[in-house]
């Protein structure tokens, strides 16, 4: 009984917080827009009994919204551009995050806790405020331009805000800890005598890094990339605040469909497809985690 309960809890959790909302979104995606509350038809009518109501409801479902999405190239472009932005910013986050994680793992033991704190510290203030702060830094009159101008490195202010560059900066900044922490965990576990063994067997420092450190950090790198890529793909706040009008991301499209156009069915369809796209990397991520666990158990 107790065991059953323990097993049931996470499943109930999953059911309540993921599957039910998803079912609702899925259901709306099969509906049509309407000027009503809620703003779609059909709605469930249980006057002739629950089963009859549901049967009646399902019979009115259609794939019109999905057809609409394939027809309008705005959506495909938004998906593709989101994929591109998410992939590129994951790559940039890796470029920045790996050296940080490496430095942390190589730092003296007594420093590591402090460095870890510094990485996590930004999470203690609101994400929105931190993104707003970047507007102040990146704007034409912003701190960055002021600094560069006063140093004489540039003659005219750079336009960074409201371009894709600002989006990349925002994503790399926001998701950096998700990249650093798993890589750090992998590197910290690594036995330093492995590098000595590699050198003893004839490796230079550089080749020991590529032949030993990198393969051992691989699982951390994979985990970090997924942790950045998956949320970045659906990111909405950063492109809206920093990206301006020329940044097309599916998260922004979704938001506009829901709140500007009040077209819940199309917005739901966009969300369902986004989820379908994300399922592939999520499954791959789970596989990687599972393999890691198995290796550790052995």
């Amino acid at each position: 009984m107790r065991r059953l309960f323990l097993i049931a809890v996470p499943y109930l959790w999953l059911l309540a917080l993921f599957l039910v909302p998803f079912a609702i979104v899925l259901r709306i995606s099969f509906s049509d827009i309407a000027l009503a509350i809620p703003p779609y038809t059909p709605t469930l009518d249980t006057s002739e009994g629950v089963w009859a109501g549901i049967r009646d409801l399902v019979s009115q479902f259609d794939f019109e919204n999905y057809e609409f999405l394939t027809g309008d190239d705005l959506y495909w472009k938004a998906y593709l551009s989101s994929l591109q932005i998410a992939a590129l910013s994951t790559f940039f986050t890796l470029l920045v995050g790996f050296p940080i994680a490496y430095g942390m793992a190589r730092a003296p033991q007594e420093w590591r806790a402090t460095l870890m704190m510094l990485i996590i510290l930004p999470f203690w203030t609101s994400f929105l405020i931190r993104v707003y702060a970047w507007i102040g830094i990146l704007g034409t009159e912003g701190y960055l331009n002021q600094l560069l101008l006063s140093l004489g490195l540039i003659d005219a202010a750079l336009t960074i805000l409201n371009t894709q560059i600002a989006v990349y900066i925002g994503i790399v900044y926001t998701y950096l800890p998700f990249m650093v922490l798993p890589i750090y965990a992998a590197l910290e576990r690594m036995d330093e005598s492995l590098l000595e063994a590699a050198e003893d067997l004839g490796c230079s420092r550089t080749s020991a890094f590529w032949l030993v450190t990198v393969p051992l950090a691989k699982n951390g790198v994979i985990a970090g990339c997924f942790l950045v890529f998956i949320p970045a793909l659906g990111e909405f706040v950063i492109p809206s605040l920093l990206g301006g009008s020329d940044t097309l991301m599916i998260g922004k499209v979704l938001w506009e469909e829901f709140f500007s156009n009040r077209d819940w069915p199309v917005a739901s369809t966009v969300a369902v497809i986004l989820l379908l796209i994300l399922i592939i990397p999520i499954i791959l991520f789970q596989r990687n985690e599972q393999r890691l666990r198995e290796e550790e158990d052995a």
């Binding site: 036995d191 000595e196 063994a197 003893d200 067997l201 004839g202 490796c203 032949l211 030993v212």
Partner: protein
């Protein structure tokens, strides 16, 4: 005497022989802790040099200086008369087997062994043969494809050994290479090591906690204590003529009898216990001094009747008997409470042994059986 053809291997006695490794006044400090304290030591080509000493005395540190992972704080090390100070680890013709094994967890057993070969000048085609040879030697053929976490502790140790042997280096450093192996496999591997050494002429420096192992394989043994080398000598000399109480006590079983020596001719007359006759022992001492008489239990004879001819004899009663199968050690208590151990071969079955608990017995030894130690 041995004919000149099979001359005994003893390059350290030959004044013209150049040592392969030379430590000259080497000191190594970690912060204000001195791990190696002013060591001067020569190790010769084709030696099988064993380092013995208690945990933390600096054995691994000494090895790491040879491998190139630690720099001496002061003093110099040379290999083949070349100063090692500025030669990085990957340029030294030295391989080390790590005490912690340091196997690459992401590589299979095969790739671990091949790792060093792939970084060497060995032609690609010859690598598989060499790896196979190492796998055969360490009896790991069946495990070639496994990862280090999929094999047992003893197997891991053998992979580490195979990996360090693969490149056939000029100098091989083995830090407790056989500790995790069972006795049978350990003996086999010891003979394999000696065989490899015969064939390749590699010089071995080996750390071991197993005295029997040091005695079996080593050309010379160095006994260390707290960063200092107390004695370097052949296994026989270390055992028979230790230079100090520390060495005598560290290697094997020993009876230690502290006392005071007076010199009479070439013999010391040692007063060591009230009511006991003095001990007579041959010695090089020239003046009377405080000393410790040390004698191995197997050099003490035990008998029911008073022995006639032996110089030294004491009477006591059997306090305890330790049965070791082929040998028995009798702990004999003297009237004043001191205990002396005597070891005899078990020629008869256990039920028929001559002495048992509480039996009065005589212990005796000649004047050349023990040593007089002043350190």
């Amino acid at each position: 005497m041995a004919s000149s053809a099979d001359k005994v291997f003893a390059p350290w006695e030959d004044a013209y022989e150049q040592p392969l490794i030379r430590f000259k006044n080497v000191t190594k400090r970690f912060g204000d802790f001195t791990a190696i304290d002013d060591i001067t030591l020569d190790i010769y080509t084709r030696e099988f040099f064993a380092l013995l000493g208690p945990s933390g005395c600096g054995k691994t540190t000494l090895m790491r200086m040879l491998a190139g992972f630690e720099k001496p704080t002061t003093g110099s090390t040379t290999l083949d008369n070349k100063d090692l100070a500025n030669v990085p680890a990957n340029r030294r013709p030295v391989n080390m087997m790590f005490q912690s094994y340091a196997l690459f967890p992401h590589l299979s057993v095969y790739d671990n062994i091949a790792f060093g070969l792939k970084r060497s000048k060995m032609p690609k085609g010859e690598i598989p043969d060499r790896v196979e040879e190492m796998l055969r030697l360490t009896r790991l053929q069946k495990f070639a494809k496994r990862k280090p976490h999929q094999i047992s502790g003893g197997q891991r140790q053998r992979v580490a050994l195979a990996r360090s042997l693969a490149k056939a280096p000029k100098l091989l450093l083995l830090d407790e290479p056989l500790g995790a192996l069972d006795k049978k496999l350990r003996q086999d591997t010891q003979f394999e090591l000696m065989d490899i050494q015969e064939k390749t002429g590699t010089t071995f420096v080996i750390v071991t906690h197993d005295q029997e192992e040091a005695m079996t394989v080593a050309s010379r043994v160095a006994v260390m204590d707290a960063g200092v080398i107390v004695q370097v000598a052949t296994p026989g000399a270390i055992y028979e003529t230790p230079n100090s109480v520390y060495v005598a006590d560290f290697i094997g079983d020993v009876n230690l009898m502290p006392g005071y020596a007076k010199i009479s001719g070439s013999r010391a007359v040692i007063t060591w216990a009230e009511g006991q006759p003095p001990i007579y022992s041959k010695t090089d001492l020239t003046a009377g001094t405080k000393c410790t008489f040390a004698i191995r239990p197997e050099k003490v004879s035990i008998s029911e009747e008073e022995p006639g001819e032996d110089v030294n004899k004491v009477q006591g009663k059997v306090l305890d008997i330790a049965y070791l199968g082929n040998l028995s050690t009798y702990h004999v208590e003297l009237p004043d409470g001191k205990v002396i151990k005597a070891q005899v071969a078990n020629e008869r079955r256990i039920a028929n042994r001559r002495f048992t608990w509480e039996d009065p017995v005589w212990l005796s030894w000649t004047d050349t059986a023990g040593v007089v130690l002043t350190k």
